[in-house]
Amino acid sequence: MSGAAFARGYNALKEQIDAPIAAFLSSCVHCGMCAEACLFFTETGDPQYTPIRKVEPLRRVWEQEYTFWGKLSKALGLSKPLTDQDLTDWETLVYDSCTLCGRCSMVCPVGNDIAYMIRKTREGMAAAGHAPEGLIGATQRAITIGSPMGVKLPALQAQIRHTEKEFDLKIPVDVEGTDYLCMLSSMEIMNFPEYIGSIARIFKQADVSWTLSSEAFEATNSGIQIGVSDIAAQLVQRIVDAAEKLKVKAVISPECGHAYMAIRWEGPNLVGKRFGFKVVHILEVLDELRAQGRLKVADRETRKLTYHDPCQIGRRGGVLEQPRNLINMVAENFVEMPEAGKMNWCCGAGGGVSTNERADALRLKTFARKKSQLDAVNPDALVSACSNCRIHLEEGLEEYHMDIPLLSLTETIADHLSDT
């Protein structure tokens, strides 16, 4: 491990600290309530998973660099400076046991946005070479191949051909001047190709002008998850370039939580300029179509459905009402899990945890939280709107021997539309 990397990481932490972080760290009273809001603590009982503890490297830098007394006590040798060993020690806490779900940020009595700080802590960790291997690999693939899962254009083209044939419709690619540029996640290409067909069918019925781009179809952003803004910006820039080239009015983020966070909220700040187009989540588009009466439902779902709010779409993204409006449109028996909505519990795989094999056992252990939420309502099927959540939920349900089918909200809508 080179000192240069540590210096780069240390400087990255220094760069990240802003007025909100200074206010948060000045306000923490060590009450421990964030622990009870974190599924890594509630499901393991291990105090090291207390959220505020995960930002300790950032806190030390703040205290020693950006407070008068901290600087003084560092100079007097009263407080120890941050070392590379500290970053090594904190690596699993910052990456393996935090999904950036932001539930802790909702309960902190003094109002600390802890998830915001952990996201920033990752900038320093990654720059110092302390990111987990799984995430490093995904990030490298995202940059070199174009997708964290290594999906290339031919794979997408094959899925498009297959879908066009199945539903007898045309999927627009690289069409200029449409209203929407539709983004996808690799998981939707590889694991859930039904999504592409669903979008196509819905948009056909609602007569929406849209296109895919052959140059930028990957919406996910490993740079955000690993915490390297330079790389995240590069990935966002691809989408910006495609959107500008195709002169679309808006870019649609797919059923993926962090992709929405990456394009909608971090995107303009990463590339350093306001977008000339809008960014909307697919659920926002669908709910708008619903409100305009452009979605015609053929039959309604009779099974008891419940909805899992993906953290980055709901709590951190602000899309909370739309999925409920949409489910109620197509389902007769929609029930809410306890604490659903902005206080929903994370599936346990967000924030890059699912990409980090080292965290697999911990990730499945924390699924017990989701299980107890599901047990409370005992649904016939579980609906969600994030491929990442979906993959992990399926794994969790299997691990815990629960026989609950998982549905994508977009696909569920498409399946209940009339054919006209």
Binding site: P20, S27, V107, P109, V110, D113, P268, G314, G318, M343
Partner: protein, 219 residues
């Protein structure tokens, strides 16, 4: 130093020094935070930062039902001692007279014996909080010297105040003098320990609410 000289010193020069350190410290801490600045958010807003920020400033005082169920002790004991401190500090007539000297405004106080009882309740709540801090694995891990120091300088004025009011042990002048001295210790440490949350909390809650509000979520 006689009792009278001691009382005069704590009411005079010592109070002046403590007040100066506390107020200047608060201003410095505020500026240390605010001057760090933050980048303009270039993403298109869905909601209002101001509305979200202001909402969270007050809303965060009331926990949601599930959080209350999970962290009941912390919330109840915390609220008891915070409300207790509020009553004792701001609604005891001899204290109101100090604020009147400082701000020029006065307000009605509570009967002294109610404040006396509140003090006892507050002390008990603070003791309970300390036991919790020592016993709970999360709190024990999070706690450092500064946490215990902050606890000590918070409970000392309550204890000395109670002793002075009930005139236990020493002479009236000594008790009142020790009480004022313990308050001055609290005042001096106030901006430089976690006690600063009393004023930085407004900023922290505002930023949290503003970040969420900008995105159209209520935090």
């Amino acid at each position: 130093m006689t009792d009278a000289e001691f009382l005069l010193w704590v009411r005079g020069p010592a109070f002046n020094i403590a007040l100066f350190i506390m107020l200047a410290g608060i201003v410095v801490r505020f500026m240390e935070i605010l001057l760090m600045g933050r980048k303009t958010n270039l993403a298109e807003a869905r909601g209002s930062e101001m509305a979200g920020g202001l909402n969270t400033i007050w809303r965060r005082t009331l926990p949601d039902a599930d959080t209350f169920r999970r962290s009941g002790f912390t919330i109840i004991a915390g609220n008891v001692f915070h409300i207790g401190l509020f009553v004792v500090i701001f609604l005891f007539v001899p204290h109101i007279l100090v604020f009147e000297r400082l701000f020029g405004v006065s307000w009605a106080g509570l009967p002294s014996n109610i404040v006396d009882a509140t003090t006892v309740v507050t002390i008990v709540a603070l003791l309970a909080v300390l036991v919790h801090r020592v016993k709970d694995p999360v709190l024990r891990m999070l706690s450092n010297f500064s946490d215990y120091l902050a606890w000590l300088v918070t409970i000392l004025p309550l204890i000395t105040g109670w002793l002075a009011f009930n005139r236990v042990g020493l002479s009236g002048s000594t008790l009142i003098g020790l009480h004022i001295l313990s308050v001055e210790l609290l005042m001096v440490l106030f901006p430089f320990t976690k006690l600063s949350h009393a004023f930085t909390l407004v900023l922290a809650r505002w930023y949290n609410g503003a970040i969420a509000g900008y995105k159209g979520v209520q935090s």
